[in-house]
């Protein structure tokens, strides 16, 4: 299967803290890769580094045969049109309403006329079950709606890869289910490829094809959902059976 994104020996340091120590990870076209890890272990940093919000200290991020690690900001703009980022809290612009938020990438990067943009926004709102919310501002939306609108904004340009940064964090089970259904529907209709960073193990199992576990600043294992579920590895089991925060404190010897 075609490799769309290849991360090779990625290192990142914040002050004295070496957050990522040689991360290597591949993302195949059409798959969703679930990324587990304890709080503060650098899962979001991997996503932020991929999209260039953080510059890596060393390593390569190869996207479509181009190393995009440490690309200048102007060249990175082109890459960002092809990689969508779904922020944990949606990160909607609070001075813009839902329609303006969703239209933002279209206005910036396409030559569509206002009618076409309006139509495209409405189609996207229908896809995420938010029809009729065009004129609502972010502070008038529930947490779940903000996240869904953030998801819609991230994918409205039709990116090749979507980076999900804990999209279900803080959501109740009903909203979590609804968000996952939206992602599944988008996947069925658009065949999206993505990395799904989460603490929410059931959600990752429901949405991902493969799972990667980040442990002690490195990728500990990457395997299919089935193999991860059935793994006898104590560390993998500690992640799968308990919340990741708890598993971080478990002293498990590596095999």
């Amino acid at each position: 299967m075609e490799i769309l994104l290849d991360i090779k020996d990625l290192h990142k340091t914040f002050g004295n803290k070496h957050v990522l120590q040689g991360i290597s990870l591949s993302l195949r076209k059409g798959e969703i890769l679930g990324l587990f890890g304890g709080s503060g272990t650098g899962k979001s940093v991997i996503l932020r580094t991929i999209i260039g919000l953080e510059g890596p200290d060393a390593g390569e991020i190869v996207f479509r045969d181009q190393n995009i690690a440490n690309l200048p900001e102007r060249q990175m703009i082109e890459v960002r049109k092809k990689i969508g980022y779904v922020f944990q809290n949606g990160a909607l612009f609070d001075s813009l309403n839902v329609e303006e938020n969703l239209a933002y990438p279209l206005i910036e990067h396409t030559k569509l006329n206002p009618t076409e943009i309006h139509d495209r926004v409405n189609r996207m709102l229908a896809l995420i079950d938010m029809v009729g919310t065009n004129h609502l501002y972010p502070n008038e939306l529930s947490g779940g709606m903000q996240k869904r609108a953030g998801l819609a904004r991230a994918i409205i340009l039709g990116p090749e890869i979507i980076l999900f940064d804990e999209p279900t964090a803080g959501l109740d089970p009903v909203n979590t289910r609804r968000l996952l259904e939206n992602i599944k529907r988008l996947r069925a209709e658009r065949g999206i490829t993505g990395i799904f960073v989460t603490h929410d193990i059931p959600s990752a199992f429901a949405i991902a094809d493969r799972i990667a576990i980040l442990y002690e600043r490195k990728i500990y294992i990457v395997d299919s959902v089935e193999n991860i579920k059935n793994s006898s590895d104590p560390l993998v089991q500690s992640f799968v059976s308990k919340p990741p925060e708890a598993s971080e404190t478990v002293n498990v010897r590596r095999k």
């Binding site: 960002r80 980022y85 922020f87 944990q88 809290n89 990160a91 933002y104 910036e108 904004r153």
Partner: protein
């Protein structure tokens, strides 16, 4: 307090003082570097598309129109009080008729630019720092970048241009209102006629008096806007951080305006104003 306890306390205090001083020096160096870098980025990005004309116009209106009342009241009060003080002060030496000359010169060269900049810096600088700071702590700045756009182009440049346009216009407005206030008080309180006031003001004022005032305001506008944007973009620590950024920009802008005003005045005395 005994000598031994003093010997213990003094080094501790000195250590704390040195640490605090060191912190402030490092923060100042960091700000100077950040200010320089942001200024360079603005100059680099301002010349290539996309251009956000609508956002720039919105910011000019926002900064300009919403500051008019504040600037008017302050300019009116300043002009009136100056006329009153100079009138009664100079009357003791028989120099009451010099009020129009002195007041007109002071308003155009100093009070107009400095008071306007101080007031607008407080209002606009804090507004910019808190708005951009809030966007930073809620990841909206990251979102702008992640969506393939530049926060420098979209947020910083429109605000800097708006300040560079609005500050001088507001200063012109303040000069006019201040002179009107001074003229009204001169007539009412000092029995100096309007025609005499206008004639003497025109006789005294030169175009460079106006332009040096405008030049000062332009320098203040650039500093306030860039510093406020830099502080907003570097805000950390949630809502508390936003509050700290807001306070910081008001204090820093005020100090900068007061100190740089002295050096700018000195510069203009050496280069523009005629030697007597």
């Amino acid at each position: 307090m005994t000598t031994s306890s003093l010997n213990r306390v003094i080094p501790q205090l000195s250590e704390k003082l040195a640490a605090r001083l060191g912190f402030h020096i490092l923060a100042t160096i960091r700000f100077a570097g950040g200010f320089g870098l942001l200024s360079f980025q603005i100059l680099r990005e301002i010349f290539y598309p996309p251009y956000y004309f609508r956002l720039t116009i919105e910011q000019i209106l926002f900064i300009g129109v919403r500051s008019i009342l504040l600037v008017s009241v302050t300019a009116l009060a300043t002009g009136s009080v100056m006329a009153l003080q100079f009138g009664y002060g100079l009357a003791r030496f028989g120099g009451k008729l010099y009020v129009p000359k002195v007041v007109a010169l002071t308003i155009l060269r100093e009070m107009g630019p400095v008071f306007t900049s101080l007031l607008v810096a407080g209002r606009v600088g804090s507004g910019i720092a808190s708005e951009i700071g809030s966007m930073k702590v809620t990841q909206q700045i990251d979102a702008i970048r992640a969506l393939g756009t530049s926060p420098i182009k979209r947020l910083v440049i429109p605000r800097v241009i708006a300040c560079l346009v609005a500050f001088p216009i507001l200063t012109l407005f303040a000069d006019y209102i201040g002179l009107c206030g001074a003229m009204a008080v001169s007539m009412k309180e000092l029995s100096i006629g309007n025609e005499y006031f206008i004639a003497k003001a025109i006789e005294t004022l030169r175009s460079y008096d106006l332009f040096t005032g405008m030049a000062k305001t332009t320098v203040f506008a650039f500093f306030v806007s860039v510093a406020a944007c830099w502080k907003g973009l570097n805000t950390e620590g949630g809502t508390q951080g936003v509050g700290e950024s807001t306070t910081w920009i008001v204090v820093t802008s005020s100090i900068f305006i007061m100190i740089s005003d002295f050096f700018l005045t000195k510069f203009f005395i050496l280069t523009v104003y005629p030697k007597y």
